[in-house]
């Protein structure tokens, strides 16, 4: 096929990619989005395979078959493991971009076609791609808990990181100004690989939603840089779509935590906690399952706030049982989802959807907060910082200013937690000792299971 015809195929493919994302705006059309994406990708691959300069297909087909063999099982992971899978696939994406950049660099060098512009684009592609690769591997390791989820820090860390960036930028400039300095290229490769690790190691679990989104954006930008290197418009379009998606998600995540990018990346959240256990130690009241069931039966409106604890305990199906029992008794049950609950954007929504909870029962923070004072019972399920009232009033708190779900305004709060240990950020949560709060200690899955049983057993006094 001539290159011009292939460009037309790419044009259709680019349009389909845009539709694919457009249809994601509504759960009703979202599945069409997947089909459009598959069609776009098929066109792109077939079009590329038909290029006149592609002569040997053996290795390509072996690679595609192997990729399929690995890819299919990766799509079967339990939904609680989706953040790790996503991080892992960012790593694959970054690796692909990095390898193509390296290969192209030496080909251009060999053919004497290495212009300053091409070098610049390759430097971007390789640096972004390889950094995304190792950074995402570290993120996946932390999410899978093979690596410590707490921030790993050491004195002078920011100095080391900024020096690495500085050296990397200098090498990049040197390569563009004088493409003959080829010995610097391998140095750049090593630096990019090392920087990815250094960048993500100091970031803790609660900041993962932002970091994953940011890495998503980098993977897209690496594809854009590849498009500049190969002078391929489709790569630029699809890469830019991906890059802007990651960027918007990271902005949403940062806003939802009232923090800036620099603070997420270089702040090592949760590490520098002033251990300010001030004042009188209030004691939390704990309740039995029977008490909780009784309180719930007398409620008209219940809001459930899920958090990472629900994901860890895989409690979503037991939550559904509770939801069903309450709905059966005519109680209005809704789920309030904080944007950063869980380990990636939208994590809780997917888990609740998996448990077949209708999505019109899932409400966003901004919609539920004004109505919180009319709520009879608010159940906190493994969430912590996102319901900590200190974010509203305690200027010394590290989460001060972060938008929260106003769970404390409900008439009664039932908080499920494994123990009184402070949450991820190591911040005391005054919600647990508030006069209207009752604690339900134990594993979320067990507690919700027993609660559902208690609710069904008593046959309703509502």
């Amino acid at each position: 096929m001539s290159l011009q015809t292939i460009d037309l195929v790419y044009l259709v493919s680019a349009a389909l990619f845009i539709f694919s994302l457009k249809w994601m705006s509504d759960p009703k059309t979202a599945r069409n989005g997947v089909f459009a994406g598959v069609a776009a990708m098929t066109l792109a691959v077939v079009g590329t395979l038909l290029r006149p300069d592609i002569t040997s297909y053996t290795w390509i087909f072996i690679a595609i078959v192997l990729g399929t063999v690995v890819g299919v099982p990766l799509s079967w992971v339990p939904l609680t493991a989706v953040p790790q899978r996503t991080a892992l696939s960012h790593a694959f994406g970054g690796l692909a971009a990095g390898l193509v950049g390296i290969g192209k660099y030496y080909l251009f060098l060999h053919d004497g076609d290495l212009t300053a512009f091409r070098t610049g684009a390759i430097v971007f592609e390789v640096a972004l791609g390889l950094m995304t690769c190792t950074g995402s591997l570290v993120a996946a390791g932390k999410l899978q808990e093979v690596l410590p989820t707490r921030p790993v820090t050491y004195p002078g860390q920011n100095f080391v990181n900024f020096s690495l960036i500085g050296i990397g930028v200098l090498i990049g400039i040197a390569l563009v100004v004088n493409p003959a300095l080829t010995f610097l290229f391998p140095v750049l490769i090593v630096l990019a690989l090392a920087f990815g690790v250094m960048l993500v190691m100091p970031i803790g679990g609660a900041d993962m939603p932002t970091v994953i989104s940011l890495l998503n954006s980098y993977a897209g930008l690496a594809a854009v840089a590849m498009g500049f290197v190969l002078e391929n418009k489709l790569l630029i379009v699809a890469g830019a779509l991906d890059g802007s998606s990651g960027l918007i998600l990271s902005i949403i995540m940062c806003r939802a935590m009232n923090r800036s990018f620099t603070n997420v990346l270089f702040g090592a959240f949760g590490q520098v906690q002033a251990a300010a256990a001030q004042g009188e130690q209030k004691v939390a009241k704990s309740a039995t399952i029977e008490d909780a069931a009784q309180i719930l039966e007398n409620a008209d409106r219940v809001v459930i706030v899920p958090g990472y604890g629900m994901a860890v305990a895989q409690a979503q199906h037991r939550v559904r049982d509770v939801f069903e029992q309450l709905t059966k008794k005519g109680i209005n049950v809704q789920f309030a989802v904080h944007p950063v609950a869980g380990r990636m954007p939208g994590h809780m929504n997917v888990l609740l959807a998996e448990a077949e909870i209708p999505y019109d029962k899932l409400v966003e923070m901004d919609d539920i907060n004004p109505e919180m004072s009319q709520v009879d019972v608010c159940i906190i399920l493994g969430a912590n910082d996102v319901v900590n009232p200190a974010a509203r009033h305690d200027k010394s708190s590290p989460i001060y200013g972060m938008p929260i779900i106003d769970a404390d305004k409900a008439k009664t709060v039932l908080a499920n937690k494994r123990s009184m240990d402070p949450g991820f950020a190591g911040i005391e949560n005054e919600l647990y000792v508030a006069p209207n709060t009752l604690m339900l200690f134990g594993d979320s899955k067990v507690v919700m299971g027993e609660l559902a049983k208690a609710l069904s057993g008593e046959g309703g006094g509502h």
């Binding site: 990619f17 994302l21 457009k22 759960p27 979202a30 599945r31 997947v34 994406g37 598959v38 990708m41 290029r51 300069d53 592609i54 002569t55 290795w59 390509i60 690679a63 192997l66 990729g67 399929t68 890819g71 990766l74 799509s75 939904l79 989706v82 899978r85 696939s89 694959f92 994406g93 692909a96 390898l99 193509v100 290969g103 030496y106 080909l107 060999h110 512009f117 989104s213 993977a219 897209g220 590849m226 498009g227 500049f228 190969l230 630029i236 890469g239 830019a240 779509l241 991906d242 890059g243 802007s244 998606s245 918007i248 998600l249 954007p345 939208g346 929504n349 077949e356 209708p358 999505y359």
Partner: protein, 95 residues
């Protein structure tokens, strides 16, 4: 394609991307991310261009590894997105 044309394409598609993504329902942010994962595996185009032609063997091998990595993302990305989207239901499933 000269540098400025490429920049134009980049700028315009970023604007489109920003606008389209902003409208994506918050409910669907996790599937959105796995979908864009699959879309960013468009790097397979570059990988094939590196793996296919008759040139230096090392480049072909690097290209083939990149094809492998991208295919993994395409396959698992689209499949898991669809798997998640199938779960989003509005009404109570009639049991």
């Amino acid at each position: 394609m000269d540098f400025v044309t490429a920049l134009f394409v980049f700028m315009l598609s970023t604007f489109i991307g920003m606008d389209v993504i902003r409208r994506v329902s918050r409910l669907l942010h996790t599937p959105l991310m796995s979908l864009t994962n699959a879309i960013s595996a468009i790097a397979i185009v570059g990988a094939i261009i590196l793996a296919g032609p008759q040139h230096d063997q090392t480049s072909n091998i690097l290209g083939a590894i990149a094809v492998f990595a991208s295919t993994t993302n395409i396959i698992s990305g689209f499949l898991i997105t669809d798997r998640m989207l199938k779960m989003f239901k509005k009404k109570e499933p009639g049991k």
